[in-house]
Amino acid sequence: MGSARVEKEVAVPAQGRREALETGAESDGALVIDGVCKSYEGFVLKDVGLELPRGYIMGLIGPNGAGKTTLIKLILNLVRREAGSIRVLGLDNVTHEAEIKSRIGYVPDEPRYHPDITLENLKSATAPFYPSWSEERFQALASEFELSLGKKFKTLSHGTKTRFSLALALSHGAELIVLDEPTSGLDPVFRRRLLDVLAGILQDERFSILYSTHITSDLERTADFVTFLRDGQVVFSRPKDEVIGRWGVVRGGREILDAEARAFFEGVREREHGFEGLTSRVEAARQRFGDRVVIDRASLDDIMVLMGRGER
C-alpha cells in the first residue's frame, strides 16, 4: 500500500481525538492510549493511539489479524508494551496494575478457566477479589444468559463460555468493560440481548465500553466511537457519526475510473461490471461524477473492506 496514503489516514485520529474530548469527557478518560508499539515475529503494532471518554462505547474494528486482540492484551498488561503509554481511568496500566484490573471487566476472545471446575466454583474463586462484587447482579446475569452454574467449564460451548465470562466481567461494577470479539460465538438473538445489557450499563455515565469485533453490524448503530485497526495501525479513531452518514460508496462503470478518479477515492474495488469507491467527500463526488454513478451511505463494513484498497 502506498505510504503517502497511509500518512494521510493516520493524520485523522488527532482530529477525532480532539473532538472526542469535546463530547464531554471527564478529565481522565476511560482509556487513553498513546504511541503504543508491540512487535512479534511477522506482526507489528505501530504507534497506536486512541481515546475513549467516560460514558461511551467504542468499537474496535478491523479484519482478523489487524492487532485488535494484541491491543486489548496490552491494555490488560497480559503482553508487555514496547513503547507508548496506556492510561485506564487516569492511571497507568502497569504501575497501577492491580487496582486497574479490579475496575476493568474483561472478556477474552477465548475464555479459558480451569476445565474441570463448575461455574459456581469458578465464580466463588473469583468474586472475593473484587471489592464491588455484586452477587445479586451475577445471579441476575447468569439467569439472563441462561447459564447452568453446576456445569463444568469444559462442557460449555464456545458461546456459553463467552456468556459466563461476560457474567463475571459485568458483576463487579467495572467502570471500563473490555470485550474482545464477544459475539463471535453468539447467535443473533443473544447478540441483541448483549447489546441491551451493555446499553443498560451505559445508563451510568461513568461507565465505558471497548468492544472489539469484526462483525460490524453489532456496532453500526450503538457505538459512539469507532477505531479502525488494520495491519497493526490505527486507520482512524473518531466519533462514529462522523464516519457513518458522511462517508459514501460510489458505484459506477469502470470507464470512469481513470487515474485521477482513482486518486479521489480512499479505496477502490474493481469488479467485472463496475467499481466501488469509498469517499469521505460525498458532495464532491456527486458534483464530479453526476448521474454516471450511484452513491450510497457507507456502512462500517464498506469502510473496513474498501479503505486503502486498490491503490496502484
Binding site: A98, S102, R112, P131
Partner: protein, 247 residues
C-alpha cells in the same frame, strides 16, 4: 467512585489480602486433585509402614519429596490449561501471583507432611516414632528436601511449563550415565567418583563444621536462614520470569 485498592497494606504473615485470596482460589480450583494426591500419598505411607523398614531418614526423604511434588500441582495445572491468562486478569499484580504460589506451596507441603505423619503414626505396625518425626533435625532435613525441589522446579515450571521441565530433566538424567560411561571408557572413572565424593564430603564437612562451631540454636537459625535465602532467590527468579511472560 474509587474502590479501595485491593492492594491494601494490611498483611497477615507477610501476605496481603490478594495473596490469601489467590491461595484460596488455588485450593478451590485444585482441591479435588490435591485430595486425590493426598489419598495416594496416605496409601503409600500405610504400605511403607507395613514394610517395617527401620530407615527413618528414607521415610523423611520420600515423604518430603512427595509433599513437595504435590505442591506443584496448582501451578502445573495452570500451565497445562493455559490458565495463567485468567490469573493475570485478576486484580492482583504478577508479584502477588508468584508470592501466593510460593506461600501456598509451603503451606501445602506442611499439610502434606502432617497428613503423612498422622497416617504413618496411626497405621498398625508403625515404626515411625513421633519424637523422631517432629524432631527439629528431622524437620530441617525435610525442609531442605522440600526447598531443593521447590527452588529448582518453581521457576523452571514457570519458564518452561511442566512438559518443558520433563524435556529438560530427561537429558539431565541421561547426562549422568553418559558421563560415567565416558569416564569408564577413558579410565578416569575413579577420579570422577572421587571428586564427586569429595564434593559431597566437603559439603557435609561444612555443615558439620557449622554444627560443631555454632551453638545448637545458632546452627538451626543459620540453616533456616540459608533455606530462606535459597527460597527467596528462587522466588525472585520466578518473579522475573513471570513478569516477562506474555499471555
Amino acid at each position: 467512585m474509587t474502590p479501595e485498592p485491593s492492594h491494601s497494606a494490611e498483611r497477615v504473615w507477610g501476605l496481603n489480602r490478594n495473596d490469601w485470596l489467590l491461595i484460596r482460589r488455588d485450593w478451590i480450583l485444585n482441591r479435588v486433585s490435591i485430595s486425590m494426591a493426598l489419598f495416594v500419598f496416605a496409601t503409600f505411607q500405610v504400605l511403607f509402614v507395613q514394610a517395617q523398614l527401620d530407615l527413618p531418614y528414607v521415610w523423611v526423604f520420600l515423604t518430603c519429596m512427595w509433599a513437595a511434588l504435590i505442591t506443584l500441582s496448582p501451578l502445573a495445572r495452570e500451565m497445562a490449561d493455559q490458565g495463567a491468562a485468567w490469573s493475570c486478569t485478576l486484580p492482583a499484580s504478577r508479584i502477588d501471583l508468584v508470592r501466593a504460589r510460593y506461600f501456598g506451596a509451603w503451606l501445602l507441603a506442611a499439610v502434606g507432611y502432617l497428613v503423612a505423619l498422622s497416617v504413618a503414626l496411626l497405621a498398625p505396625g508403625s515404626t515411625v516414632v513421633p519424637s523422631f518425626a517432629i524432631d527439629l533435625d528431622t524437620l530441617l532435613v525435610g525442609a531442605t528436601i522440600v526447598s531443593v525441589i521447590l527452588v529448582f522446579l518453581m521457576p523452571s515450571v514457570i519458564r518452561f511449563g511442566v512438559k518443558g521441565v520433563f524435556v529438560l530433566l530427561v537429558p539431565l538424567n541421561l547426562l549422568l550415565p553418559v558421563v560415567f560411561v565416558v569416564s569408564k571408557a577413558t579410565g578416569t572413572q575413579d577420579s570422577l567418583e572421587n571428586s564427586l565424593l569429595a564434593g559431597l564430603q566437603s559439603l557435609a564437612t561444612v555443615i558439620a563444621g557449622l554444627r560443631d562451631g555454632l551453638s545448637r540454636p545458632l546452627f538451626y537459625i543459620a540453616i533456616v536462614l540459608l533455606l530462606f535465602a535459597l527460597n527467596w532467590a528462587s522466588y525472585r527468579v520466578a518473579v522475573a520470569l513471570f513478569m516477562r511472560r506474555e499471555l
